[in-house]
Amino acid sequence: MESDLNKMLEHYYEMDGNIISILQDMEETFGFIPEDAVNWFSHRLSIPAARFFGTATFYGQFHLTKQGKHIIKVCRGTACHVKGSQKISDDIQREFSIGVGQTTKDELFTLEHVACVGACSVAPVTLVGKEVNGKVKSSAILKKIKQLREV
């Protein structure tokens, strides 16, 4: 971890001292913003940890808790909304007993909402990992997610 953090620190200086770049690096490397790592930077840079957390909680991109192995994103942009994306999200929430932004107990799945992934012409859209699925039906996406559990 130490070497990862040192690399991020270097990048931070390259980016003219921008703490968002540290947060983005942490998110990329760890999948969330670990408290220990924030404290490490806070100590090194003499920047209060609160500034890191204040910035991290402002932006949708950062997470303070560990994410599931598979991230399921349901697009809640306008085009997807009028094509029924709310129901898809509701169905996933019900099936896996999680809310938006939450992770299943087995740490396999995290459900997120995103605002338009820019594939509106095939709305409604969901992303499972990086794979974009267009013209989604609840039943099909639930099946797909359940299959991931088996592998």
Partner: protein
């Protein structure tokens, strides 16, 4: 010479464009070895050409004749190569139909002219089409003031939503002297349901860079940033490739074209906050802070990034600039209406046949966009309203379909031009639900700095939620209007000032729908589930058990091959049975 172009925008890729592209490469290679295909054959990737509903689109140019195929799947490639390229007979059934040509007939491409033609990852292909000529012209024959003057005369206005005259903005920045100035390209594109800027960057990133270089020269900026959403990985990648290539060619970096002009452009990834599209919040975000807006003045052109004069322009605004320089201000000013010049790119989606990306001259009517270009309504259901401008805009009803699309007309109708999202809705869409949807978005994205927006949008959302749940009260409509007006008048930034637009416009044009929800506890469009009762039609039910199997609340009973019934106490009104029933036996009232 045979040339194959595969649509590889985000739309194209999610429809399988990647595989189509690779299959073409593989097939061509295979046959090349057998020496049956002409040498000099090339496959290249192009950006979005608009008609995303027909993805994957593939152009095949053989013997100088261009054929366009629609809905191409990876497994269809082999047949195209064999029939068309080897035997010389295009596969007629797969070619685009008449509606593809109608889609293009009423459009006018300025910004999108080269999207879908140039290879976005190859600077040579842009230069071949006259790319970077405008930079050459400006740097060698025009002074910065000439440049500002040309843009002013063209009448170009900001495409990011506000519609502020671009030349004027540049002039302010020129007048503010400083040791360092910045130019920023706003590619945050927060409007959910719109993807114009993404497509422009994915399809022709150099056009945006060229606009930035010209802008930087005009105002005297030596550093630039492109602030782009992290949710657009493909656009980010193409932008980075483009910046690198432009640097190698001497269009960026130190001493551009040997004229002693410097410009360094960096890419900054947005971190997922809608308000960061607002210029002062965007600047805070680049500085590494929480992206909260500041009150203006001072405007960024006076005191912007790191306290220095800064010009912020939208992607599409900047992409217009090289065209204006090349073809002249008069040419640009000849397109459009008196006050809105040029063209506008729209992402048209929703319940329409041809969803996709379009570019039209300002002043075209909504009707032409929806029926001529969009091909009309999906499933032939009746057109009800179109939402423009995203969460800051409003809904325009069917009765106003002849409305002209320009800044002033849209504002007069209670909406805004916005960045260019057009979401078409039909009789099956509930306007109260739509207003609630937008308020859910704005209250979530409100940065919390100013009270009217933070609390006001939340309250508005709560009232709308109550109404859609059948708990509406008398006087709610007046109360909504009241709160809306307060939030509009007192918010700090554009987010709060425009957030009430979806509510005000839907009340203005669809007041009866609000009344039905509040007074009769009824949703005329049958969308608000809490106001509906689900029943099964005994005659139509075949007893296939599909609904009972799907019902998450186990609220459906019945024996196989016998009519089923819904136990209303247990029903959670999720609507699953309605969706899965193949015999239309589930009714909702």
């Amino acid at each position: 010479m045979i040339c194959v172009s595969v649509c590889m925008g985000t739309g194209g890729i999610s429809a399988g464009g990647d595989k189509v592209f690779h299959n073409f490469e593989a097939e061509l290679l295979k046959h090349d070895i057998e020496a049956t295909v002409n040498k000099g054959c090339s496959v290249h990737q192009v950006g979005c050409r608009g008609l995303c509903a027909k993805d994957v689109l593939v152009d095949v140019i053989a013997n100088g004749v261009k054929s366009t195929y629609e809905h191409i799947k990876p497994d269809m490639v082999m047949k195209i190569v064999e029939e068309h390229l080897i035997k010389g007979a295009p596969i007629k059934e797969w070619l685009v139909k008449e509606d593809y040509h109608n889609f293009n007939a009423k459009q006018m491409k300025v910004v999108l002219e080269d999207c879908g033609v140039v290879d976005p990852e190859d600077i040579e292909s842009y230069i071949e089409r006259g790319g970077y000529q405008a930079v050459k012209k400006v740097l060698t024959t025009m002074t910065p003031l000439d440049t500002v003057e040309t843009i002013k005369r063209s009448g170009l206005r900001g495409r990011g939503g506000g519609g502020f005259p671009t030349g004027l903005k540049w002039e302010f920045a020129v007048k503010n002297h400083a040791d360092q100035k910045y130019i920023i390209c706003n590619a945050d594109e927060g409007d959910p349901g719109a993807f114009m800027d993404r497509s422009v960057i994915e399809g022709n990133p150099h056009s945006v860079l060229e606009g930035m270089i010209i802008g930087a020269y005009a105002i005297g900026a030596t550093k630039g940033y492109v602030y782009i959403r992290a949710e657009y990985p493909l656009a980010v990648e193409r932008l980075r490739i483009a910046i690198k290539a432009a640097k190698e060619k001497g269009f960026l970096g130190k001493n551009i074209l040997g004229r002693g002009v410097d410009l360094e452009i960096k890419v900054k990834l947005g971190a997922g906050a809608f308000v960061c599209g607002e210029e002062t919040a965007l600047i805070a975000s680049i500085e590494g802070k929480r992206g909260t807006p500041k009150s203006r003045p001072p405007f960024p052109a006076q005191k912007g990034l790191f306290g220095k004069p800064t010009v912020i322009n939208n992607v599409e605004t900047l992409a217009n600039v090289p065209q204006i320089i090349k073809r002249g201000a008069d040419w640009f000013a000849s397109i459009g209406t008196e006050k809105s010049k040029g063209t506008k790119v729209f992402a048209i989606t929703g319940k329409i046949k041809n969803s996709g990306l379009i570019e039209v001259p300002m002043g075209i009517s909504l009707k032409e966009i929806i029926y001529d270009i969009g091909g009309g309504m999906e499933d032939e259901l009746a057109f009800k309203a179109v939402q423009t401008g995203g969460p800051s805009g409003g809904c325009i009803p069917a009765s106003m379909i002849d409305l002209k699309v320009d800044y002033e007309s849209l504002a007069a109708a209670g909406s805004i031009m916005g960045s260019g999202g057009l979401v078409v809705m039909n009789e099956g869409d509930c306007m109260v639900n739509i207003a609630k949807f937008f308020l859910e978005f704005t209250q979530l994205e409100s940065c919390g700095k100013c009270t009217p927006c933070r609390i006001g949008t939340k309250r508005l959302f709560e009232i709308l939620t109550r109404i859609t749940e059948g708990k509406g009260r008398k006087g709610d409509i007046e109360f909504l209007i009241d709160v809306c007006n307060d939030v509009k008048a007192t918010s700090l930034c554009g987010l709060g000032m425009t957030a009430p637009n979806p509510i005000l416009s839907t009340i203005k044009y669809f007041r009866r729908e609000y009344e039905a929800h509040i007074n009769e506890k009824r949703c005329p469009a049958k969308v608000c589930n809490a106001l509906l009762t689900f029943t099964i039609d005994k005659e139509a039910c075949t007893g296939c058990t599909m609904c009972a199997k799907t019902c998450p609340a186990s609220a459906i009973e019945g024996d196989k091959k016998k009519p089923h019934t819904i136990i209303s106490d247990k029903c959670i009104k999720c609507g699953s049975c309605f969706d899965v029933c193949k015999f239309k036996a589930v009714n909702k009232e």
